[in-house]
Symmetry: C2
Subunit: 238 residues, 2 copies
């Protein structure tokens, strides 16, 4: 936060930052629980994730109201305004991460009848760990207004994409080997896609941090390696 | 819009509404083009959709800036504030619809090597038509601040879900019949999912219209029939 005498405005900003911290903590728990429910076939835990989404949404609405009332009362300019707009954007991304965790939980509640290999689940677990790390780091970057840390998160997203791509290939192989795998693998494809998109939200948050601190967009193109849309890279047998 | 003497504030609101109209028109074109590119195997058109997404994003940023400067300058209360917050939420949904069109276009650029049946494509076409209709209607409801029309869109989303479910079942069947269909069908599954989510954004916009006019959330639970997560409803042979 910029160095100046504490004003009412700073108290408002602190309130926004606290809500973002709470949302981030909830998202972390939601993703971890959803993926744990997936690997443990625990539909009760999955139901809990689905219900807990209301809390994420409520926090976003509270933050939105606080942001709007702060703009109306304080009429901030330049860097102060960027703080508020940035907080709104970050809350928006965090709300979407919450939705993605719910999508994964929904797959779990319906997958319990189907079997899937430990190998596939362990890769999804690995992806989830990486995504949660990315979220932790970018929220740290936000708390410390640390552009270098934000850019590191932004660049590391490629690791999530690489994992998603290898999982995508593997799941297609399983489906081709045995049609009985198709239903379960389709759900796991969706789960992986949801985690990949959660990773993208971490990079959006990184962009918001840079915007808040420097008032500019990140100039480079983000390295992107999502080949789950590149089916022709994956040569099919037959 | 409420009946009162034209104020500077009304001019600001009109500017927000115009930008929302432009975003809606662009989204309509993006979805239509993306699905047309899919059915015509037209990767040049798909590339065009991918490039045009910047225009949607730029409109959202402009709307955001306009909204924030309006709040700061006019310090609106109650219904006027809801107008602005509602516009911000709607723009956010429209930006996401643009992203979903890009996801579909990405599938196209990579699918040209693979074949898929006319039947599957015609169902995706049908779904896209329905989603575009939903978007048109909800933007009309916004322009007219018509709660009844907004609620109609909100309730009709179930038709999109029903189409998505039948397509999901059909695609799984194709994959099971012939493993050579798996790569293409997986892409089409993602396309259908993207359209279904675009439909969900139309219902979110309907909720924002109700919020703007009545200052409340829609009390009922929305009827939801997404069984693409209900794999156990779909009994696998074998």
């Amino acid at each position: 936060m910029p160095q100046h005498i504490v004003r009412g405005f700073d108290v408002d900003l602190l309130c926004l930052a606290t809500k973002i911290g709470e949302m981030g903590k909830l998202d972390r728990k939601q993703i971890t629980d959803a993926v744990h429910a997936l690997s443990a076939h625990d539909s009760a835990l999955a139901e809990q994730v689905i219900r807990a989404d209301d809390a994420v949404d409520a926090l976003q609405r509270e933050l939105e109201e606080k942001a709007v009332s702060t703009i109306a009362r304080r009429q901030p300019m330049a860097v102060d305004l960027r703080e508020i707009v940035g907080a709104l954007r970050i809350a928006n991304d965090l709300e979407r991460v919450g939705d993605l965790a719910v999508n994964i939980a929904r797959s779990v509640t319906e997958l319990h009848g189907d079997s899937y290999s430990r190998g596939m689940i362990s890769e999804i677990d690995h992806m989830a760990t990486l995504v949660v790390e990315q979220l932790d780091r970018v929220l740290m970057a936000y708390a410390e207004r640390d552009v270098a840390k934000a850019l590191e998160v932004w660049r590391r997203d490629i690791e999530v994409d690489v994992l998603n791509n290898s999982l995508f290939r593997e799941l297609l192989t399983y489906m081709m080997e045995d049609p009985r795998n198709i239903t379960a693998c389709t759900q796991l494809l969706f789960c992986a896609k949801n985690l990949e998109r959660a990773g993208d939200h971490a990079t959006n948050i990184a962009e918001s941090v840079v915007y808040i601190v420097e008032g500019r967009a990140i100039p480079e193109e983000r390295p992107k390696r999502d080949i789950t849309n590149l089916s022709n890279e994956f040569q099919l047998a037959g």
